[in-house]
């Protein structure tokens, strides 16, 4: 590393560099424009808020920072030295959510090879209706290429990929089971603490790997470095609190969330002297500290954790006789060191620990020989170094190495005797190089990359090339192309086609099997009709081989299965996205046409998440002044419309004659003739959700209240059918998850 730095320092540098942050809270500003007035020299901040303008002749300049939604900053600078560092804080002006985003998106459109890339800000997350509780994953489900299994699903099926093919990162920490709260209905990520979320739906760059389909990279807030502030809220299911503020040379953030119904039931039970209890709760929290000992160095310590806890006590007498407990949850920590070695070169070193624990216990207080404990645990240790070298204004090289130790253990104890004790350990060492080059400035951008990985099981080396290209054939139109190869070294052994599963059971790919591999080919067009209207159109094709899939019998339940079978598959489709804002109105339309096929033993089939058409329509606006009680309130709505998912239909029935040895007679029973697993499709599903939010002032504090209504017009989207065989002919019964409109409400207080 030092050799590289010294080599780079040997160049004659005359440049300006630094970080641009929000003056109100110290958060980095992404894609802010930075330029020297009346010259051709300029740049934009990257995703870390970092900018560098290079090869500037010695002179006096006016350095301008502009970002829609913020006051423009102008500084007089005199460049005589080899380089100048200018870290700038920009004050928010009149903030308009759509304006701010469009500005950043425009910069991305003009300067980045950014294919199948979706970003979200907290304001967008908060402005979309939520089912009882706001959830980041549910917001992402409104994007093109992403489908869900049902109304309550909190999993991401990205372009025909299953949820276990998505890499989920929280501040660099790999999260293995991101949607575990409330039996899989909510994700681990408290949206209040999220600064931004970016999703690569395909063709992701070489810095990311070990998953076949997509990358979800979530960055939590930095913490307000200017003043102590906080936020508290209470909703139908959880109560939340967040504190952030400055520390010497840095900032901190603390965030916590917990369900509270069990506490209310407990309190009621105590008051009334009854034995009521709600045997379930979940909680999670994030703690983050930023420390900047010097302008060149920044340390960030992040910790997060959460659990879902179930506990039952059974008794026929006054004293407990047996206790059943189940607990599962994520936890993790990371330490990140960012160092700017010189204006052209900075790096980040990350050490991270991630853990997912599932623990079941049964205790029999009357007979301890029946006691049983089962646990399964994933532990991930990662150390990673990413280096960014700005060769010149049009050329950037990223280099990184990544070492990972993964331990998966599971055991079963009965009566203090360990009946099962297994542990898998694997090491994964990865290096990547990535080159971003504007071959024809402002016209043609190419991003190439190579990811090399060593997998310790079977001592296998893997080479995964990536290439992306952006061609601006008109000032407001660009053609995007991407080709890439991806591998996944850790897989799940439970079916990804289950309607409900709380968590996955992960295992490393063993030496008997080849490593599951996918190839992505994406060709898209992005067009800006005007500054407020963006259209993207992206056809894609994804091919898989050496997939390890559970057998069909395993579909109905998420039971662990060692009987994985080798398969292959493909998915292809078109994603359409139109985003528009106009004054106080914003919205988007996303549409996906997708075909997903998997193959096992030479038989092709559509997995249960193969949704052919998927449309989302989102609209938000400020309530006009003529409505006095709600003026300046915000209304947003989301309408979802999609074709049904494939399933195996019961086609016919017949009598099966057998000898009942208990009754000692021949009897008949009805046997069902079930059709192929994908021959039928559930009916079309659609749903309208509404969100109303209004700000208020109370005792000098700002706050807001909100009301969400999910399934406004009471649509019953069929999840599955059953047959009542007690009737002749059998009667078909259909079940939906949201049989009625479901309202929820909450209050937020900011202080």
């Amino acid at each position: 590393m030092m050799v590289i730095v010294l080599l780079l320092s040997a160049y004659d540098l005359r440049s300006i560099n630094g970080f641009v942050t929000d003056a109100a809270n110290g958060e980095p500003l992404v894609y802010a424009n930075v330029y020297l007035e009346n010259t051709r020299y300029g740049s934009a901040t990257n995703e870390k808020g970092y900018y560098v303008i290079q090869n500037i002749p010695a002179a006096t300049y006016t350095l301008v920072f502009s970002y829609i939604g913020y006051k423009t900053v102008s500084l007089e600078i005199d460049i005589e030295a080899r380089s100048i560092t200018k870290n700038v804080e920009m004050d928010p002006a009149v903030i308009q959510i759509e304006g701010t985003q469009i500005s950043a998106e425009r910069a991305r459109f003009e300067q980045d090879v950014d294919i199948s890339h979706i970003t979200f800000t907290p304001r967008e997350i908060q402005s979309v209706p939520g089912l009882v509780e706001k959830d980041l994953i549910k917001i992402l489900q409104l994007m093109p290429g992403i489908v869900t299994m049902h109304d309550l699903s909190n999993k991401l099926y990205v372009r025909g990929g299953s949820p276990d093919e998505n890499l989920v990162l929280l501040d660099g920490i790999t999260v293995y089971n991101p949607s575990t709260h409330l039996f899989g209905l909510f994700s681990t990520f408290n949206p209040d603490a999220v600064n931004d979320a970016e999703l690569y739906a395909g063709g992701f760059p070489a810095e990311y790997g070990d998953r076949l389909s997509s990358v979800l990279n979530i960055t939590t807030k930095e913490g307000n470095s200017k003043k102590l502030s906080g936020q508290a809220s209470i909703g139908l299911v959880t109560s939340k609190i967040m504190l952030e503020g400055p520390i010497p040379n840095g900032s901190f953030l603390l965030n916590g969330r917990r369900t509270y119904l069990d506490v209310l039931v407990w309190a009621y039970s105590k008051i009334k002297k009854e034995t009521l209890s709600l045997p379930y709760y979940f909680y999670d929290g994030i703690a983050k500290i930023n420390f900047n000992p010097s302008p060149e160095n920044r340390f960030t310590l992040t910790g997060f954790g959460g659990s879902d806890v179930m506990s039952f006590e059974e008794s026929l007498t006054d004293e407990s006789e047996e206790k059943i407990g189940l607990e599962w949850g994520n936890r993790g920590a990371s330490l990140r060191w960012r160092r700017v070695f010189n204006p052209k070169f900075y790096s980040e070193i990350l050490g991270a620990w991630s853990n997912f624990l599932t623990y079941f216990k049964y205790e029999d207080f009357t007979d301890s020989t029946n006691n049983m404990h089962i646990y399964e645990e994933i532990i991930d240790y990662t150390i990673k170094c990413d280096c960014n070298y700005f060769v010149n204004d049009i050329h950037t090289i990223d280099i990184g190495v990544d070492g990972k130790i993964l331990k998966i253990g599971y055991n079963l104890d009965v009566q203090k005797l360990r009946l099962l004790d297994k542990e898998h350990e694997t090491q994964l060492i990865t290096g990547y190089v990535q080159d971003k080059w504007s071959l024809v400035p402002s016209i043609l951008f190419v991003q190439t990359g190579l990811r090399i990985s060593y997998y310790s099981i079977g001592n296998r080396w893997n080479y995964d090339p990536r290439i992306g290209l952006k061609y601006h054939f008109q000032p407001n139109s660009a053609l995007n192309l991407a080709l890439s190869k991806h591998r996944q070294f850790i897989i799940t052994i439970n079916s990804q086609e289950s309607y409900f599963s709380i968590f996955d059971f992960w295992r490393p790919v063993d030496s008997m099997h080849d490593i599951p591999t996918s190839y992505h080919a994406i060709a898209g067009i992005e067009h800006w009709f005007d500054e407020n209207t963006i259209l993207t159109f992206e056809p894609y094709f994804k091919y898989y081989h050496d997939l390890l899939l559970p057998e069909e019998d395993d579909i109905a339940f998420s039971s662990p299965s060692e009987s994985l079978r080798i398969g292959s598959g493909y998915s292809m489709g078109v994603d359409f996205f139109l985003k528009k804002s106009y004054r106080d109105i914003f919205g988007w339309v996303s549409y996906s046409l997708g075909y997903t096929r998997r193959e096992q033993g030479g038989n092709y089939y559509s997995p249960r998440y193969d949704r052919r058409h998927n449309t989302n329509f989102v609209l938000g606006f400020t309530i006009p002044h003529m409505i006095p009680l709600l003026k300046n309130g915000k209304i947003s709505m989301r309408w979802h419309f999609a074709t049904g998912l494939p399933y195996a239909e019961d086609l016919g029935r017949y009598r099966y004659r057998y000898y009942n040895s208990v009754e000692q007679r021949w009897e008949n029973k009805w046997v069902i003739i079930r059709g192929p697993r994908d021959a039928h499709r559930l009916p079309i599903s659609h749903r309208l959700d509404l969100h109303l939010e209004k700000n208020f002032h109370l005792l000098g504090m700002k706050g807001s209240w909100y009301i969400d209504i999910v399934n406004v017009y009471d649509q019953e989207n069929i999840l599955f059918h059953t047959w009542d065989y007690d009737e002749d002919p059998p009667r078909k019964e259909s079940y939906a998850l949201l049989p009625i409109p479901i309202p929820s409400f909450g209050i937020n207080i900011r202080f």
């Binding site: 009709f529 005007d530 209207t533 019998d553 359409f576 139109l578 528009k580 106009y582 109105i585 919205g587 988007w588 339309v589 549409y591 052919r612 058409h613 449309t615 329509f617 609209l619 419309f641 074709t643 049904g644 195996a648 239909e649 019961d650 086609l651 016919g652 029935r653 017949y654 009598r655 099966y656 004659r657 057998y658 040895s661 000692q664 046997v671 069902i672 003739i673 079930r674 059709g675 021959a679 039928h680 499709r681 009916p683 079309i684 047959w723 002749d728 002919p729 059998p730 078909k732």
Partner: protein
């Protein structure tokens, strides 16, 4: 404001396209004949039940009484006749069901595909141990000579009250003798006199007996053109005293 309507137009167009493209698949299923016939060997008595499968929205009915049912071996043919008493087809010119012979069943019914089925009866076998009136314990092994063509041995311990305690054995191709351990669960029975009945079954019977262990399967044990079973088996019996500690 006019520009803002663009998304609405797009949504409307997409919705129409989806609605056009999304005709749900209709339930296409053609009912078939459902046959049930197990041949005992050696005997000349057999019956055939002729049933049908039903669409899910169709009410069930009685067994079919007007089908043409033909059983044949290489030398003769029997056209069976329907007997309302047990809703089964009975032999008109009974064939002798003998070991190691091939029998074919044909069932014709207007409106359904014709069903053809074939079975080869298992070869003769003998019970070497226990011999009649021997005393047997749960640590003993029942020994048989091998029945050619038998894919499966199925048996019962039958007590004086005609309670059945089943057991089964799938032979290995390398077996020269069939050795079946006395089932451990006979520990839960009582000492006394039992009949042991052992049946050597053909592969169709094996498929039939295994049916139901997996969901969603269609029983086609030797039957083509429909569902059901056409199987054969050959039985031996011995009377023993079971001694339990």
């Amino acid at each position: 404001m006019q520009k803002f309507y663009r998304p609405l137009y797009s949504t409307a167009i997409i919705s129409i396209l989806i609605a056009v493209c999304c005709n749900s698949v209709s339930d296409i299923y053609e009912p078939e004949l459902n046959i049930y016939c197990l041949l005992w060997c050696p005997t000349s008595h057999y019956t055939v039940l002729v049933d049908r499968t039903y669409e899910m929205r169709e009410s069930s009915g009685d067994y079919i009484s007007d089908a043409l049912v033909i059983l044949s071996d290489p030398y003769s043919v029997d056209t069976l006749q329907y007997m309302p008493a047990d809703s089964a087809y009975h032999p008109r010119y009974p064939l002798n069901i003998v070991p190691e012979a091939i029998y074919e069943l044909t069932v014709i019914k207007e409106g359904f595909n014709t069903v053809t089925a074939e079975t080869k009866t298992p070869g003769n076998f003998n019970i070497l141990y226990p011999q009649p009136f021997d005393t047997l314990t749960v640590s003993d092994t029942i020994i048989l000579t091998k029945s050619s063509g038998a894919h499966y041995y199925w048996g019962y311990f039958i007590d004086v009250n005609y309670n059945l305690i089943p057991f089964w054995y799938v032979p290995d191709t390398l077996d020269s003798l069939i050795r079946i351990p006395v089932p451990f669960y006979l520990h839960f029975a009582h000492s006394g006199w039992y009949d042991i009945e052992i049946q050597a079954c053909d592969n169709n019977y094996y498929l039939y007996s295994q049916f139901g262990t997996e969901q969603d399967s269609v029983l086609q044990a030797g039957v083509t053109g429909g569902v059901g079973v056409f199987a054969s088996r050959l039985a031996r019996e011995v009377h023993v005293y079971l001694l339990l500690n």
